[in-house]
């Protein structure tokens, strides 16, 4: 895919909805398309956070391995979601596994390239980080609701 058409496709992703066209084009310089088959890992816990993923289609399980219980799924992500805010946060290591549940297509944003652009252009860095924060905030809200265990039976 040439850079122009990559930028055009990237602009359609919800993560980019509040970025300017110039910012999306700037971001597209770090992006490439990637495809994962069902069962294939996008990232493994503990390994180097070398990319941020914007999910275009498919389904990805966020999991953690618990000895004796195997892989425990904590969330399922799909089109419009992002995976990988660890790319901006030292020590740049993944905290959980991400595994494709079905054939999954993503934009893969190179971590070194991203960190370079965020440093080089603070205006872009601010807009990008704001999008990342919005996604993290939404994920945190969902995790808190999950933690509340709202469907547990209460005696009446």
């Amino acid at each position: 895919m040439n850079p122009e058409s990559l930028a055009r496709s990237l602009a359609q992703h919800p993560f980019c909805k509040d970025l300017t066209q110039a910012q999306v084009e700037f971001l597209a310089g770090c992006a490439k398309n990637a495809r994962y088959d069902a069962g294939e890992y996008l990232v493994r816990e503990g390994s180097l956070a070398d990319a941020l993923f914007l999910v275009r289609s498919g389904s990805v399980a966020i999991e953690s391995h618990i000895p004796g219980r195997g892989s425990v799924k904590v969330d399922t992500l799909g089109p419009g979601d992002i995976i990988g805010w660890s790319v901006l946060l030292p020590p740049f290591r993944w905290h959980l596994d991400a595994r494709a549940l079905a054939a999954t297509v993503v934009f893969c944003l190179d971590a070194n390239c991203l960190r370079g652009k965020v440093q080089a252009d603070h205006s872009f860095g601010y807009a990008f980080t704001l999008q990342l924060l919005a996604a993290a905030s939404q994920r945190l809200t969902h995790a808190r609701l999950q933690q509340l265990d709202v469907y547990k039976a209460e005696l009446r």
Binding site: V150, A153, R156
Partner: protein, 274 residues
């Protein structure tokens, strides 16, 4: 409804186990000429000698010969109802309360958001919309349960999922090794549906905290607050707004609810004393 305080005895014709603590029974309404209700309404069910509980009607409004309720056994009265068998009598008063705004949704997209046993009061609305599917826009259903074993109406859900005119997603808060579906909260599903947000009617039922989170998410997607409806639950006793047990601010849930527009209950939901 003839006399709201008059109890009718109706016989159980069928009992189905839904989950480890939830069951559905059908009551025979033929001797009284059928039982008519609007989706979202509830009845007071009496376990003879023990007490009454408010239970939403979970059956098909177009099949008045049977009156269906899905009940979670969590207290003495619901456990007594759980122990009943085919042929046993149950006391019934009702139907009570306000219905889901099914007719207001004509020509619009509809999103149904159910959590846990909250799917039961919404099922009559789903039946009603499916019976005249062509007069609505998109029909999206988001259902969240605690675990895969807590999913209600699993066979029916598969049937709905198989329809090309229904967009249905199911999630569980906690999966198990055999669960191949979605894990995460029901609010996390809402962004996945492609709705005409400004022309969407939302119907929410589940634990109050889930509805609060879901309502906020829908508002952030552009669904007008006046088009978001919730089914509230309080301690309903008389069913006619006389006893005051279910008072919610200036209204009585049994009479003015249980289905309210968000605009009416949102200010009250944040008042902890209520």
């Amino acid at each position: 409804m003839t006399d709201a305080l008059l109890l009718e005895s109706m016989a159980i014709v069928r009992v189905r186990r839904e989950t480890s603590d939830t069951f559905t029974f059908d009551l025979d309404a033929r001797p009284r000429g059928g039982f008519r209700f609007a989706p979202g309404q509830f009845n007071m069910l009496y376990a003879f000698g023990l007490g009454e509980v408010p239970i939403s009607i979970s059956g098909d409004p177009l099949k008045p010969a049977v009156l269906t309720h899905t009940i979670r056994a969590v207290g003495p009265t619901t456990r007594a109802l759980e122990a009943l068998k085919k042929g046993d009598p149950v006391g019934v008063r009702g139907p009570f309360g306000t219905p889901w705004p099914v007719d207001q949704a004509l020509g619009k997209d509809v999103i149904v958001v159910a959590g846990g046993i909250g799917l039961a009061p919404l099922r009559p609305a789903i039946y009603s919309m499916l019976s005249r599917r062509q007069v609505f826009g998109k029909l999206c259903i988001a259902y969240g349960a605690r675990t895969p074993a807590d999913i209600l109406y699993d066979k029916e859900i598969e049937k709905w999922r198989g329809r090309i005119d229904v967009d249905l997603e199911v999630t569980v808060d906690r999966g198990d090794p055999d669960w191949r579906g979605h894990t995460g909260v029901v609010t996390g599903l809402l962004r996945r549906f492609e709705l005409d947000a400004e022309r969407t009617v939302a119907m929410l039922c589940g634990p109050e905290v889930m509805m609060r989170f879901a309502a906020r998410e829908l508002e952030s997607l552009g669904v007008p607050a006046a088009c978001i409806y919730l089914s509230m639950e309080r301690n309903m006793k008389c069913g006619v707004g006389s006893c005051g047990h279910c008072q919610l601010g200036p209204s009585f849930v049994c009479k003015d609810g249980p289905v309210y527009p968000l605009t009416k209950v949102e200010p009250l939901m944040s008042v902890r004393e209520l």
